[in-house]
């Protein structure tokens, strides 16, 4: 008995002390997590408030744009629509919406941004807003009113019911099921509303880019369908595999635009060849040979001629190197078609060369396959000297040639390409051979992409 009493006499204070310690620990943990909760909630609330604000302002500016008439005012309005819808887009990306269906609305906002940008940067003095575009603006205004209304309803509910975005994030892991939650409900009805928006004529822009994309896809999806056996034979022949070499071949689901097979040739864990090949015509889209590359033994010029030689195996001839870079014993060389003294930039094919023995350890020919075709482009109206006069006089021109590029709207144009310098910077400037307009200006940095990893 005495012993128990003794134990109890010191056990009690121990228990009390540990209770106090645990209690204090629990309280401080609670305080920390509470602070973090509030921080995260304020970030979400801020993003949400700003989203509402930007959507309000887009509505406002679109409303103005249909009323103003001088080019300067129209430009100002449209530039604002573009800026504000872009900002709205970025706030959407800061909210915990996850996989909730919201793509229609996001897509719509993106199209509004794109449409207003294209109109705003245009020379509105000579090419004023057309009646069709005015109708589009009017429709967009009506649509933006509806989006604003729905956002407003949601915002009121969030305030009145004291909804917390952080709770929403923690409680609903799956947003695709039927959840009885005002946030989900309102976003869903917004999404429904947007799908019912009237057809809008977007002019050139996203639609034309999509149309061009479809034409490109036809180039790799029309032709003879290869059986798995034919694909296998082609791979064996192309990679020059030993007849008894086993490799893995998988037919991919046809979710994409064209059916492909994936091939894995494994020599060891650190020596694997991966490639994708199309079912139609058995074109190899890309290849990557993952292996250890030793010390460089060849220089870049040898690498380039090895790559050109290799490209013949892919039936790719008449190419010119447009970009050369080396890093960590590997050279990456991009080629473009070169016909009639013209560089055809869209026909790009990139080759990866191991500098230890000059072996080709990768290529990506998707762009080439999608773009390569017989072209018939506009006639040259400006001489190269006339075009040169249109350049910024401060540019010291070093090289000039003809080039086909894809302009902003995805359409190919024939241009004069000038490579020149201003002080320490190098620029590529593409002038339309018909109009002399600057189609594209690139600042060519000396520092390539791969270098960055040296700083690790």
């Amino acid at each position: 008995m005495i012993m128990y009493k003794k134990i109890a006499s010191w056990l009690l204070p121990v228990l009390v002390i540990s209770l106090v310690v645990v209690g204090y620990w629990g309280y401080s943990e609670y305080k920390i997590s509470n602070t973090l909760y509030n921080n995260s909630e304020s970030q979400y609330q801020r993003a949400f408030y700003e989203l509402s604000y930007y959507i309000d302002s887009v509505e406002d500016e679109l409303g103005k744009s249909i009323a103003v008439s001088t080019p300067g005012q129209i430009r100002r309005s449209l530039a604002n629509v573009w800026r504000l819808s872009y900002a709205a887009q970025s706030r959407v990306g800061q909210l915990p919406l996850g996989t909730m269906e919201f793509t229609e609305t996001e897509d719509f906002i993106a199209r509004v941004a794109d449409f207003s940008y294209r109109a705003a940067i245009r020379d509105l003095d000579n090419d004023p807003v057309s009646d069709e575009e005015w109708e589009t603006l009017k429709t967009l205004y009506q649509c933006s009113l509806k989006i604003q209304g729905q956002m407003n309803t949601l915002h009121n509910e969030v305030i009145n019911k004291q909804l917390r975005w952080t709770d929403f994030e923690l409680n609903y892991v799956n947003l695709d099921e039927n959840i009885d939650n005002p946030i989900v409900k309102n976003f869903n009805s917004l999404e429904d509303e947007v799908t019912q928006f009237p057809e809008v004529s977007w002019g050139t822009g996203i639609d034309s880019i999509n149309q061009i994309k479809q034409e490109k896809i036809k180039r790799v999806s029309n032709g003879e369908i290869f059986s798995e056996k034919m694909i296998k034979d082609k791979v064996v022949k192309f990679l020059d595999l030993e007849p008894d070499k086993q490799f893995k071949i998988i037919k991919n689901p046809d979710g994409g635009e064209y059916v492909t097979y994936s091939v894995y040739v494994t020599y060891s864990d650190e020596n694997i060849i991966y490639l994708d090949i199309t079912e139609v015509e058995g074109n190899i889209l890309w290849l990557l040979h993952d292996r250890v590359v030793g010390k460089p033994a060849i220089d870049l010029q040898e690498a380039e001629s090895k790559a050109v030689e290799y490209l013949k195996k892919l039936d790719v001839e008449n190419v010119i190197a447009t970009n050369i870079d080396d890093y960590e014993n590997i050279a990456i060389i991009s080629f473009a078609s070169y016909e009639n003294n013209t560089v055809i930039y869209p026909d790009t094919i990139t080759v990866k060369i191991a500098l230890d023995n000059g072996e080709i350890i990768g290529f990506s020919s998707i762009e080439y396959l999608l773009n390569h075709n017989k072209r018939d482009l506009g006639e040259i109206k400006l001489t190269i000297d006339e075009a040169k006069k249109k350049l910024n006089p401060k540019l010291q021109v070093e090289e000039q040639r003809l080039a086909i590029i894809e302009a902003d709207d995805g359409i190919e144009v024939l241009t004069y390409e000038f490579i020149g310098t201003i002080d320490e910077n190098t620029y590529k400037i593409f002038l339309n051979v018909e109009s002399g307009l600057e189609e594209k200006v690139e600042k060519v940095d000396q520092i390539g992409i791969q270098r960055v990893f040296n700083n690790y």
Binding site: Q89, G93, Q94, E106, G255, L288, D290, Q301
Partner: protein, 243 residues
């Protein structure tokens, strides 16, 4: 006895210091060796390019940064130099160009040129910090996956940049709430290994094993039913890639 020890120590020290000095000399020889050996052309990188730039600067042909990257500015300087000195103008620094350049910078170019590393403007869209973040994400999301699966994860991030319904920067895409589990559980902050970095490099160089996918999920752990409704492109390792 004591004297013998002393002698042994003295000899050892001498031998060691000779080896040490020798190796130092060898190292600096190595450096000159590289400049003397390989042909330099557009796209070359390294200390030998920095030395070339330094020498070209000394003779007044080059005014750009001594960055060890043979870019357009270096190319034009080499061409001008070749033209002025009656060498074949091909923009390639081979034996002849090198010899003439060395002769013209004999007493000046002995100092070792250090490559000034620049971090900014990694390419037209991405900074080196963005790429590091991408490597972190790839490592956090897919480090157990086959190499090609890691390239694919990097490609999904890059494909999202091009999509209208995703943010327009690498950081915006990666830190979008609920987008990546590695961000939510902090695994993104682990130091990425070389494989992840290599995968990022291949992805930004244009290899896209996914064929344009913007989502991927692990069929064994995916809790969302919605993700199964997306058109699937392919499975690599544990991940299914879809639109």
């Amino acid at each position: 006895m004591g004297k013998k020890y002393l002698l042994v120590i003295a000899i050892t020290t001498l031998v060691l210091s000779i080896i040490f000095i020798e190796s130092k000399i060898l190292n600096s020889n190595d450096f000159i060796e590289t400049f003397a050996s390989r042909n330099l052309s557009m796209g070359s990188r390294g200390n030998d390019v920095a030395e070339l730039q330094n020498r070209l600067q000394l003779v007044g042909y080059y005014s750009g940064n001594i960055d060890g990257v043979f870019g357009y500015q270096t190319l034009y300087a080499v061409r001008k130099f070749q033209n002025d000195f009656g060498i074949k103008v091909d923009g390639v620094v081979g034996t002849k160009t090198r010899e003439i350049l060395q002769n013209n910078t004999k007493n000046q170019a002995n100092k070792k040129t250090e490559v000034v590393t620049e971090q900014n403007n990694a390419n037209e869209h991405f900074s080196s910090n963005d790429l590091k973040l991408l490597a972190n994400a790839v490592y956090g999301e897919s480090r157990g996956e086959p190499y090609i699966g890691q390239v694919a994860v990097a490609s999904v991030v890059l494909n999202r940049l091009k999509s209208e319904t995703f943010p327009n920067s690498i950081s915006g895409v990666i830190f979008e709430p609920r987008a990546f589990t590695a961000v939510a559980d902090g695994q993104i902050w682990m130091e990425p290994n070389d494989t992840a970095k290599k995968a990022v490099q291949d992805a930004i160089n244009g290899w896209d094993p996914t064929g344009g996918a913007i989502y991927y999920f692990n069929p064994n752990t995916a809790t969302s039913g919605w993700i199964w409704t997306r058109p699937q492109r392919k499975q690599i390792g544990k991940h299914i890639f879809c639109d």
